[in-house]
Symmetry: C2
């Protein structure tokens, strides 16, 4: 592997000249520049980013830690951040927590040890998990997306999860449903609590008292939602509608419904949080509450960039508005 020194020797110039030509930091005469370029070409020189970063004290890497790459919400987030990073000349190191706060800690530490400039994180935990500024690792900037317990202590960009759930459940209520089965997310996460609270808000507003038996605790993943949904289907009387706390669980529920031969929306109305490409492909189309992922991602990334360029202002905490996307999976009660 050719180094800068090799190039310098080959071109008969100093290391400095090579460095300046490549980085454009200082004026180099056209002639030397040409010689350098030629040597670079001939030797197949590739700059060693690591060495450069080490010297400059900051790296061209950013961390991106998400809860679950197989979830289209996170997937789209990855896509967005990836694009933004590329445009900013940054590369992204990916980490996956699986909603595990301990893994999250490890990953954060790992990112820091890779000297990433900053990290975008979808926190896995709840308020208690972040009480002690656990996210402040070294001088690494971190900004949170999606799950933003108040105690985070970092910039955060998240959906108004409470309102999102309320929107979904109110939609069901407006259609006349009274027994609404709920599959919520991993119990300890802030997002889950908020969505559960939004569910309550909706019931409250409609003057309906929530029943424990109708609330089932999933883990934001498909398999568990399948199980939860199957249980809900055993209830007598059976709920007439289902609210799922995220997209993957919606899929799990649809599978369960399919396997139990329950038709949507005739026998069961279904809606969830998180829109995704597959939702309109179902027959009937799936009614969901949409998150403005692109906006959240851009805002988060821009914020990170600002922090990196020295902005030490107040914490930025932005909440984004959900929107109900009505398709065909919720029908009026009785169907």
């Amino acid at each position: 592997m050719a180094t800068m020194k090799d190039v310098a020797k080959d071109a008969g110039v100093s290391i400095f000249t090579v460095s300046s030509t490549l980085s454009g930091a200082a004026h180099v005469s056209a002639e030397l520049r040409a010689r350098v370029r030629e040597s670079v070409e001939r030797l197949g020189y590739e700059p060693n980013t690591m060495a450069s970063n080490l010297k400059r004290g900051r790296s061209s890497l950013v961390g991106l830690i998400v809860s679950d790459v197989t979830n289209p919400f996170f997937t789209e987030l990855v896509e967005c951040i990836q694009n933004d990073a590329r445009q900013a000349g940054l590369s992204v190191i990916l980490g996956v927590t699986g909603y595990d706060v301990r893994r999250e800690s490890e990953l954060l530490r790992l990112m820091s040890s890779h000297q990433v400039a900053g990290t975008i994180l979808t926190p896995a935990g709840s308020e208690e998990d972040y009480s002690d500024g656990r996210l402040r690792i070294g001088r690494m900037k971190v900004v949170a997306v999606d799950n933003a317990p108040p105690s985070l202590g970092v910039d955060a960009f998240a959906l108004d999860n409470r309102l999102a759930a309320k929107l979904a459940v109110s939609h069901l209520l407006d259609l006349g449903h009274r027994r609404i089965g709920v599959v919520s997310g991993v119990p300890h996460q802030y997002v889950t609590r908020e969505r559960l609270a939004g569910h309550q808000d909706a019931l409250m507003q409609a003057g309906i008292r929530p029943r424990r038996g109708l609330i089932s605790h999933g883990d934001f993943r498909l398999e568990d939602a399948y199980r939860c949904c199957s249980q809900l289907l055993q209830m007598k009387p059976r709920p007439s509608a289902l609210f799922l706390a995220n997209n993957l669980m919606l899929i799990g529920a649809m599978r369960a419904l399919a396997d139990h031969g329950v038709s949507v929306p005739d026998e069961m109305s279904v809606c969830s949080i998180d829109d995704f490409p597959w939702a309109p492909a179902f027959q009937p189309g799936l009614t969901v509450v949409r998150q403005p992922i692109l906006e959240m991602a851009s805002a988060a990334f821009q914020c990170l960039i600002n922090r990196l360029s020295g902005n030490d202002g107040e914490l930025e905490q932005r909440v984004f508005a959900p929107s109900l996307v009505v398709r065909g999976s919720c029908a009026a009660y009785p169907a």
Copy 2:
């Protein structure tokens, strides 16, 4: 940010002692070890991976370059590789090509400049694109997954794409379909050609001559498939079955079918390559040809690890068997 030097000073030992305690490379007396650990704790010391990698000449990073993160096939690949990498103590830098061979080149170069130990790549191109050993960048090891034109010149792990397509189309043929609409992938990619060839194989075997008009060229993405499928639906007589070259295009087709009020499988049988979590959630369940992603990913990663540990043996080129997963989206003709 505390450095090793700081820790050494704080603990009253030499840098070397700190280094060996942390890496476990040399024996350090229990007492010093304790002192070091304490200082590490107190100062909140984090090793600087970059410096370490620079010094050791190899990095704890691997590159992972995929065509499209929003596609569940690649998503699952990312998930698998991510897991394997973690267990091997490696972090992954993610890159996305969008099926663009030029971006692929840039990304490969980028990975190399980040001094990654190796890179796992889902190549975007075709045979001609790799004629000149374009994948051999510096001393970076690269191994290919998913798309493996013979000219690659690197280890490759891919589905038997030709057989996969044949399986799908033969299934349709066996059900009595004779006019089968096809939406293929990005025209220049090897995978696309193979799947098209498999389609031909199936027709040939059934003694049916292929008709150009029934073949539409998508780009492995949803939107374009929607368009292609809509066009196919205009044909008179209309095809009685559809074969999609991948999962995202299946979704696009299902959307088009839904929008045009065509019912599956009564009015249209549908099948594609790539299984994905959503497939069984549809009503009817989607019939697809499954790729053994986990196996392919593990094999690829293991191969990379072997290469990294000095195995300079022959190129490993492995082809994996597809399997037809019959669900409900294909019915006998006439429906």
